[in-house]
Amino acid sequence: MAMLEIDRLTVEFGREEAPFRAVDGVSLSVDRGEVVGIVGESGSGKSVTSLALMGLIDYPGRVRAERLRFDGQDLLAASDRQRRRIVGKDIAMIFQDPMTSLNPCYTVGFQIMEALAVHAGGSRAERRTRTLELLEQVGIPDPASRIDAYPHQLSGGMSQRVMIAMAIACNPSLLIADEPTTALDVTIQAQIMDLLRELQTRNRMGLMLITHDLAVVAESCQRIVVMYAGQVVETGAVEAVFAAPRHPYTAALLASLPEHGSYKSRLASLPGVVPGQYDRPRGCLLNPRCPHATERCRAEAPQLRSDDRGGVRCHTPLAADGRPTP
């Protein structure tokens, strides 16, 4: 049994009668020490999925699932208090924009020590020592002087390192990184990814890596989950999916990688954008953009079918040669 099991997670916003499904029956799992990449265009529900897992979807958002288990504990049935004992300790999360993720009113040290105080306890002095250690671990030079710095005194890269230190403070067994490098300079991006990979290997953490960057997935992940408009459209081992994508959407994503073609023509083969609240089509959600769409795709929504290679949600999945199977 995997460490994290999500089974048919659904998150709805908006009115009860006409709900908007930001996440629609998403199932995924992460094992101890495993790195799972979640990719998909903007608006495909990646962040909402992870927020639901953390219990951070507020009213009027509604979260439902067949199963939401972490380490044998049922997160759906857990009370707020029970959930808070897991969240922030065993499951930690880092967010997209480090510059707005730290509280401007408190020092870096305060914000890290706070996480320790809630979950690990210990004396003030112990927490401070541990915090210095953490800052050192995430590669912040001169931790002794940075520990009392305020967020506005740090650069974006430094802030993200602080966020990482905060997240790993209690030795979580699962780390969710929601586009951890999107807001950073290109040179810093590589450093932060290296740091995450290093920490993941050293602490044997499960890592759920949400990203737009397929190159990062190829480099760091074992498994990939491709999402589109709130649904999982394809899952599988990274090598297999990269070698022979079965879903037209995955194929289009891969085709946009620089080594597969022109970098500029990102998703050139799929014009348009992810459908939002008011323009979800009938049938397969991709059909207006899909080059292989048939009558059936426009009428009937495909189910996610799983086999030993993974799962794919398509009526006519692509064969190894890239042609749709009838």
Binding site: L56, I86, G88, S101, N103, P104, Y150
Partner: protein, 336 residues
């Protein structure tokens, strides 16, 4: 921080010139003069009137009087009250503690109720509680102080007999003024009955004077809190597994307080303006009532000096608030 304080103090000079000019001009615009009003119904012989006016320097051209006044004021001499012949400074500072006591209690009332109410309304936005708070505070904000005071007096003092109608303390007690604050002086004297009486007298005026600040604080806290709750760092704090209470009180409130403190500071001016009315209604022996009495007596030195001193207090408080702001907000503190 030092250059910040110096710059603010530098700004005080033009402000002072403005305040003295306006005070001077306004009081001389009102018809009538102090001698005439002192003489009252009986009237006064014109020759005697002219002589007295000359003695007090009121026969000189206005600009000359103004320059004389500024010259003396710069040396710390605000003149003497025409009515009592006491130095204006002495009169002001004898009465000022009563005004401070009332204003502090009013502010305390506003903050102690306004902050929690604003926070709760923000957390429960859209709820019945939220709508009630918004409605009531709008009503409170638009309430004319005079009318509101009379209404409360009618209900609580006249009909229910719970609170006294006027004054600072029951006439039965005599308390040696040490600090000028009745609550403190009665305690220093060890007279708990007198303390209770002083407290009793404070309730209604404090509520009247605190109503507008209460409405402002509650609404400001609510809107500022609602903005802060949406920030990324609040989500991060929750993702750390902190309790809802801790997220609100430690992470959100501190940030939400920044604009609220500024607003509280700006309310000090409103508060002193309100004190003038409140003190008059409740016969509260503070500088507000004294100013009103002085105006009706055309007591030029008292009015000018009083306005100048009140303005000084408002500016001083605003300076303090700005410094407090820097204490809460590290971004300001480290800006220089």
């Amino acid at each position: 921080m030092l250059s910040f304080v110096l710059r603010r103090v530098g700004l005080l000079v033009p402000t002072f010139i403005g305040v003295t000019l306006i005070a001077f001009a306004l009081i001389h615009l009102i018809p009538g003069d102090p001698i005439e009003l002192l003489a009252g119904e009986r009237g006064i012989d014109p020759a005697r009137h002219a002589q007295l006016m000359r003695e007090m320097g009121f026969d000189q051209p206005l600009w000359q009087q103004y320059l004389n006044y500024i010259g003396a004021a710069l040396q710390g001499d605000l003149g003497r009250s025409i009515k009592t012949r006491e130095p204006v400074l002495t009169e002001f500072f004898t009465l000022f503690p009563a005004t401070i006591e009332l204003s502090l209690c009013a502010m305390l009332f506003a903050v102690v109720i306004g902050l929690p109410v604003g926070i709760l309304a923000a957390i429960r936005r859209g709820s019945v509680f939220d709508h009630t708070v918004m409605g009531v505070s709008l009503a409170g904000y638009s309430m004319p102080i005079f009318w509101w005071a009379l209404l409360l007096i009618l209900v609580f003092s006249v009909n229910l007999g719970w609170t006294p109608v006027s004054g600072r303390i029951a006439v039965a007690y005599f308390v040696e003024p040490v600090t000028g604050f009745m609550l403190i002086d009665t305690l220093l004297a060890g007279d708990t009955d007198a303390f209770a009486s002083a407290l009793h007298h404070l309730v209604l005026p404090s509520i009247v004077l605190g109503t507008i600040p209460l409405a402002v604080v509650a609404r400001m806290t609510r809107s500022s809190m609602m903005e802060v709750i949406r920030e990324d760092y609040i989500r991060v704090a929750r993702a750390k597994g902190l309790s809802q209470t801790r997220v609100i009180l430690v992470h959100a409130l501190r940030n939400a307080l920044i604009p609220v403190v500024t607003v509280i500071g700006l309310q000090i001016g409103t508060l002193l303006a309100g004190a003038i009315l409140t003190e008059t209604i409740f016969a509260w022996p503070g500088v507000g009532k004294w100013l009103v009495d002085s105006i009706s007596r055309r007591d030029y030195p008292a009015v000018q000096g009083g306005i100048l001193l009140v303005a000084a207090v408002v500016m001083l408080v605003n300076l303090l608030v700005d410094m407090l702001y820097g204490l809460i907000n590290p971004r300001i503190r480290h800006a220089r």
